[in-house]
Subunit: 398 residues, 2 copies
C-alpha cells in the first residue's frame, strides 16, 4: 500500500482527496483510472507524456486505465461559428486521429491494460432533455468560479453559454464511466472537480482527482507547447530528440527526471548525490537522453544518436561547464547574427557575419552558413564561435 501511494504521489501536484484514495486502494480491486484527451491534436510531445507516465504507473500497479477521447465536442466543432480553424470533425477523422494517438501512446501505455473509449458513445445517445437534466446539477455561480471564466466575466469578455456545458459533459463522462480516479494537468483541476461533484449528484462515489504539473519547455519557464515551439515531439527522429534533451539546463534536467523518466525516485536521488559529489551533469543528462530516446525509438538508435551528438561536438573540445545565456528573440524570431551579439559571443552583428563567413560558427556542433537565418523562441542550442567562445543559448519568445 505504501509503495502504491509513493508511486501515485510521484510528481503529482494535488490528490483530492488522498484519504478517499487510500480507502479505494484498500478495496483491493483494479481502480478505473480516467484521463481525457482532445481528438483534434494527435501530435504528442513530451509534455503530454507526463500524464501518460502517470497512467502507466497506475497500470504497473494493477489498475485499469481508460484513455478517453472527447470526440463528442470535437464533432460539434466551434458552435459559435467564429473559429474557422475548428471545423466539426467527422467520425472518420476522429477514428483516424485516434489511431495516430494510440500508435503514439502505446509507446508508454500497456495496450493490454488500456481501454480506449470515445465519449460520443454515450453522449450521442443523449437528447436535449437529458442535457437539460445534467445542466440542472450545477450552478452558474460555481461555474463562474473557474479561473478563466471569472477573468473573462470580470473583464467584460463574452462567455457563450455552451462553454458552461462543456465541463458538465466532461464531468458526465465520469458518471458514464464510473471512474474511481481522474488524472489531468493542473489547468484541468476545475473540470475534474465537476466530475467529482456530478458523480455525487448521480449517487456515485466521487472520483479522486489527481493533478499533474505542466512540463516546462526546452528553455524552461513556459509550459511545453507546439505553439511556443519549445517541445520535443515523441515521433521526432532520434538525433533531434537527443540533441534537444542535451540542450536543456542542468536545473531543468532534474524536473525532466522526475516527470519524464521512469527511473525510481531513489535512483534519481543517487544521481543528484553523484553530481553534488562532483560528477559532470552532462554525463547524467546523457543518461536521461538515452532513456527517453530508447523509449520512443530503441536502444540501438539512442546509442547512435548519442555517438552522433558527441561526434558533432568533437569529443573533448567542449568544456564541461558551459555558460548559459538567455536571448529574447520576440515572437518574430531574431537573425542568428543578432543572437550572437546579444549572447555576447560577438561584439557586433558585422563581426557575427564575418565569423559565419569564415565558417567559425557552429550550432549544436554543426557549421552554419547564413548569419541572416531567423532563430525562433522556445529553443536552446550550444553555440560556438571559433574555439574559445561558447555558450548554451536559450531563445525566449518573450
Amino acid at each position: 500500500m505504501q509503495d502504491q501511494l509513493d508511486i501515485i504521489r510521484r510528481g503529482a501536484i494535488e490528490i483530492l482527496v488522498e484519504q478517499e484514495l487510500i480507502e479505494k486502494l484498500q478495496l483491493k480491486r483494479p481502480l478505473r483510472i480516467k484521463a481525457g484527451f482532445d481528438p483534434t491534436a494527435p501530435d504528442l510531445h513530451l509534455g503530454h507524456t507526463v500524464l501518460l507516465n502517470k497512467m502507466r504507473q497506475f497500470q504497473d500497479i494493477g489498475h485499469e486505465v481508460i484513455f478517453l477521447i472527447g470526440d463528442f465536442t470535437g464533432m460539434i466543432g466551434d458552435p459559435t461559428g467564429k473559429n474557422a480553424t475548428r471545423p466539426p470533425l467527422t467520425t472518420e477523422e476522429v477514428q483516424a486521429n485516434a489511431r495516430t494517438y494510440t500508435e503514439q501512446v502505446f509507446k508508454i501505455l500497456d495496450p493490454v491494460a488500456t481501454k480506449v473509449v470515445f465519449n460520443s458513445q454515450w453522449m450521442s445517445e443523449l437528447d436535449a432533455a437529458d442535457l437539460v437534466k445534467i445542466a440542472a446539477k450545477h450552478t452558474v455561480a460555481r461555474m463562474l468560479e473557474r479561473d478563466d471564466f471569472d477573468k473573462r466575466y470580470t473583464a467584460g469578455q463574452p462567455i457563450a453559454i455552451h462553454e458552461f456545458l462543456y465541463p458538465l459533459i466532461q464531468g458526465y463522462d465520469s458518471v458514464a464511466l464510473e471512474s474511481d480516479v481522474e488524472l489531468g494537468g493542473t489547468d484541468q483541476k476545475f473540470n475534474l472537480l465537476v466530475g467529482r461533484q456530478l458523480q455525487q449528484a448521480y449517487g456515485q462515489a466521487p472520483q479522486i482527482v489527481l493533478t499533474m504539473p505542466l512540463l516546462e519547455g526546452l528553455s524552461g519557464g513556459d509550459k511545453m507547447s507546439k505553439s511556443l515551439n519549445n517541445y520535443i515531439g515523441i515521433a521526432e527522429p532520434a538525433n533531434d530528440m537527443f540533441g534537444k534533451l542535451m540542450s536543456i539546463s542542468d536545473e531543468l534536467m532534474w524536473r525532466y527526471f522526475e516527470l519524464v523518466s521512469f527511473r525510481s525516485l531513489s535512483d534519481i536521488e543517487d544521481l543528484r548525490e553523484q553530481t553534488r559529489a562532483g560528477r559532470n551533469p552532462k554525463e547524467v543528462k546523457i543518461e536521461l537522453a538515452l532513456e527517453i530516446v530508447s523509449r520512443f525509438h530503441d536502444t540501438a538508435s539512442a546509442d547512435r544518436a548519442c555517438h552522433a551528438f558527441n561526434q558533432r561536438f568533437a569529443q573533448g573540445q567542449l568544456p564541461d561547464e558551459i555558460a548559459e545565456v538567455t536571448v529574447v528573440v520576440g515572437t518574430q524570431g531574431l537573425p542568428l547574427a543578432n543572437v550572437l551579439k546579444a549572447a555576447g559571443l560577438t561584439a557586433s552583428t558585422s563581426e557575427s557575419h564575418r565569423m559565419v563567413g569564415q565558417g567559425a560558427v557552429r550550432i549544436d556542433g554543426a557549421k552554419v552558413e547564413n548569419g541572416r537565418q531567423l532563430l525562433d523562441g522556445g529553443q536552446a542550442f550550444v553555440i560556438q564561435v571559433g574555439k574559445r567562445r561558447i555558450a548554451r543559448v536559450l531563445l525566449s519568445a518573450s
Copy 2:
C-alpha cells in the same frame, strides 16, 4: 393600416420595434403571431385573457395566431429534483391539459384561425449536440442581465445552469415557428427578446415583441393570480363572476374596460364622458359585467346573474356611493367579526358577533350566520351592518 396599428397598440406596454411591425404589416400577408403557455396551469382566469384578447384582436384583423404549449420543459419536470410539486408530465397529461386549455381559450379565440402547437414536436427531435449549438448563440453576461437572475446572482442565491437553457429553448421555438410577432406579459419581455436575438442568429428576420400589462386582481394593486385569491376564473358560475366584477372599484373598472372588454376605445371614452357628466358608475360597471359574463357563459345567463345581483341588494336600498375600505387580513385570513371592526362597521368584535347573531350582517346582499368565518385576502365585498352602515371592503393579504 392605421386602424390595424390602433388595435394592436391597445393596452400594450411596449412594441419592439414598432417600425419593424409597420414594415411587416405592409407585406399584406397574414403574420404569424406566437404566444406561449405553460402546460401545467390549465385553469385560466381573467388575467390570462388580457393576452388572449390581444391574440383575438390579431385574428380579427386577419393574422395567424399560434397557441404554443411549452410541454417540452413540462415533460422534464423539475430537473433539480428539489420541487416535488413539479413532477414530470406524461404525454397523456399534457394532452389532457391542452384540451382543458383549448376548451377555455376558444371562448375568446377563433378556433379556425388558431394553430395549437406543442414545442415538444421539434424540441424532442433535438439531441444534446443540437442544444449545445443553440446555447452557443447567447452569452452568460446577457443572460445574467435578466432581472430575476441578476437579483439572485447578486444575492448569492443559486441559479442552476439549466435555467439558462430555458429562455433559449423558448427563443428557439420562435426560430422553429418563424414567428413574426411574439406576445407576452411584461414579465416575459427578456425571454421574448431572446427569441428575437436567436432568430437573427439563425438568419431569420427578428420577431416583433409586444408586451401586455399584468391585469390587477379584484382588490387592485397586486396582479391577478390564483395564489393571491384575487381572481375571476373564466369557468366560474355566472353569478360569482358577476358579483366579483361588481365588487371592483370604479377606478379599476376603467382598467378592466381597456384590457378585458372588447368594446372599442371610442365606446369606452363615451362611457367615461357619461360618468363625468353624472352617470352612476355602478350602471357602467353593470355593462362591463354583462359583457364579460356573456362571453364566458351567454347573454341569458348574464341577464339572470344581473337580476340576482340586484335582488340580493334589494334594489334601491344601496346608496349610489359606497365608501371603500381596505382591510389587511394577512396570509391566514381574518374572522368576519374582526373584519367588521377593522372596517369601522362595528365598534368592537363583540358588537360584530351580536350583529351577526341578530341577522343584521350581509355580505354581497346575503345574510351571514357565523362571525368566526375566516375571510381570505384578495377578495372584495359589499358588507352591510344594519340598514345604514355599509362599505365596499377590499381584503388585502399584505
